[in-house]
């Protein structure tokens, strides 16, 4: 082990991952499982049955107090006032330029209590920024509570059947992007019907000392359905098929919400938020570039950073790309000039010196068939 490895942070399930034979890699300052049985196998398990993920590296930042709503409204792109207690929404944490400091889920825990779930790599930066903004609005406190939670995600069509026997919470009562409190395997948890895979499923906030117990209980409960543990590799291919943006790839401090195709996360109706003015300008002026999905038409796999060409000229850059296990196609996302952003537009990708044909397609690449459940 090198010094670098020694300084990586670990989740409460670290020993379990190692003992189970997971391949561990450094990710965002953490040593995390990238795969257990193979990315393809894990990806297909989530699409067809269910998979279990340890995403305890994610950060949690809580804002509470009389001024909490005002503070969250200021830092979040979305309209937190539209949230009922027990509801969550996706949002951007924006710079004054309308670009992404991070993306996050905003949970309304109480009328004046919010929890922001943020990316591991950004937690420190986000907390510093949010704290500063909270101070300006006053009468609210901001706490980095990341160490108080382990976070497990059970994702896939069988997720509810696997989780339900372990809890008294009636899962069919939790609608998509809502959450509830209760016990899972006798641990006090928050159960959120959210995820990052494009499948139905739950994310469970667990006290760290109960994480292994809940993890084992979920695998045991899912054994009959062949539910398997999954790593960050499958999480990445799953989220890409579902066209969910990844911070550091598809969005960052140089890309605006509108360019990223996430205009639906902007609460235009609320009075103000950081970044609003620039986004409004950009909306009125029109976008020079926009994030699109593409499929390769010739053999080759586009990867992050590859150039997008049009008639031989460099016009953009790939932000994410892979060969997807479920759709069995080489797909990706890229920023391209708006003129080439309509589905059907022909582009080329420079695959390590080889000009390879691709075509813009509508997002998402994969959309699950909704069941009859309450969604």
């Amino acid at each position: 082990m090198t010094d670098t490895a020694a300084s990586l942070r670990t989740t409460p399930l670290h020993a379990r991952h190692r003992a189970s034979g997971a391949r561990m890699v450094p990710y965002a300052g953490w040593e995390m499982p990238v795969e257990y049985s193979g990315i393809v196998n894990e990806h297909l398990a989530v699409r067809s049955r269910a998979g279990l993920f340890d995403v305890s590296h994610m950060g949690e930042i809580e804002v509470a107090g009389k001024g909490a709503l005002e503070a969250v409204q200021r830092v979040s792109s979305n309209d937190a006032a539209a949230l009922k207690v027990g509801q969550a929404q996706y949002a951007g944490l924006l710079t004054p330029e309308g670009t992404f400091i991070d993306d996050m889920l905003v949970y309304r825990m109480g009328p004046s209590h919010f929890m922001l779930v943020v990316n591991a790599a950004n937690t420190v930066k986000d907390f510093a920024w949010i704290s500063e903004q909270v101070k300006l609005t006053g009468d609210a406190a901001c706490v980095d509570s990341s160490s108080r939670y382990a976070l497990l995600a059970i994702q896939g069509p069988a997720a509810r059947d696997v989780l339900q026997p372990l809890t008294g919470v009636e899962l069919s009562d939790i609608r998509y992007y809502w959450f509830s409190y209760g016990e899972v395997a006798a641990a006090r948890v928050t159960i959120s019907r959210t995820g990052y895979t494009g499948e139905d499923g739950y994310e469970i906030f667990v006290p760290p000392n109960m994480a292994d117990r809940v993890w084992q209980a979920l695998l045991e409960s899912g054994r009959h359905a062949d539910v398997i543990p999954c790593g960050l590799g499958a999480r990445d291919t799953l989220r890409l098929e579902a066209a969910m943006r990844l911070y550091g790839n598809d969005i960052d401090e140089s890309t605006t919400v509108l360019e990223a195709g996430l205009g639906w996360t902007i609460g235009w109706k609320k009075s103000d938020f950081i970044g609003r003015e620039r986004l409004l300008e950009q909306k009125e002026r029109g976008l020079a570039r926009t994030l699109v999905g593409f499929e390769m038409l010739e053999r080759g796999i586009a990867r992050q950073g590859y150039a997008v060409l049009h008639q031989g000229n460099r016009v953009g850059q790939v932000t994410s790309g892979t060969q997807t296990p479920f759709l069995k196609k080489a797909i990706g996302m890229a920023y391209v000039p708006t003129a080439f952003s309509t589905p059907g537009s022909q582009i080329e990708i420079d695959v390590r010196g080889r000009v390879t044909k691709a075509q813009v397609v509508p997002l998402p690449f994969y959309k699950r068939v909704m069941g009859s459940g309450v969604i």
Partner: protein, 125 residues
């Protein structure tokens, strides 16, 4: 998985099995395990010359792309036709799945290559 003694290995995790002046080249079990699920193998056309230590193709897994380096110099005679539709054969049987057959320009030039026990020691460090 044991490393067969009937061939030589590179530090870049390729194997080469010599049969006179003809050699088969593939990647090791260690390499396929590190790569994960292989989805695409890009290989040179027959007739192309390859040079020891230089890239002659690439192998892509779901998560990443890696270069393939020629263990020895020569001319590509044949490319394994199985790999076009079944790249996963590299994961299943790495030591049976040759990628290219090469006519070596100097079959004696094996000096910098490792034998199986040296290679196995390398994978344990």
């Amino acid at each position: 998985m044991p490393y067969p003694a009937d061939r030589k290995y590179t530090k870049d995790h390729e194997w080469i099995r010599l049969n006179g002046e003809i050699a088969e080249v593939g990647i090791t079990d260690f390499a396929q395990d590190q790569l994960g699920d292989v989805v695409f193998v890009e290989l040179p056309d027959p007739g192309r010359r390859v040079t020891a230590g230089e890239s002659f193709g690439s192998i892509e897994s779901v998560k990443a792309v890696s270069e393939l380096f020629a263990p020895m110099s020569g001319e590509v005679l044949e490319v394994n036709p199985t790999l076009k539709d079944h790249p996963e054969a590299v994961n299943a049987t790495p030591h049976e799945t040759w990628m290219v057959k090469v006519r070596l320009s100097d079959p004696e030039a094996t000096g910098s290559l490792l034998d199986s026990s040296q290679y196995e020691a390398l994978t344990r460090t």
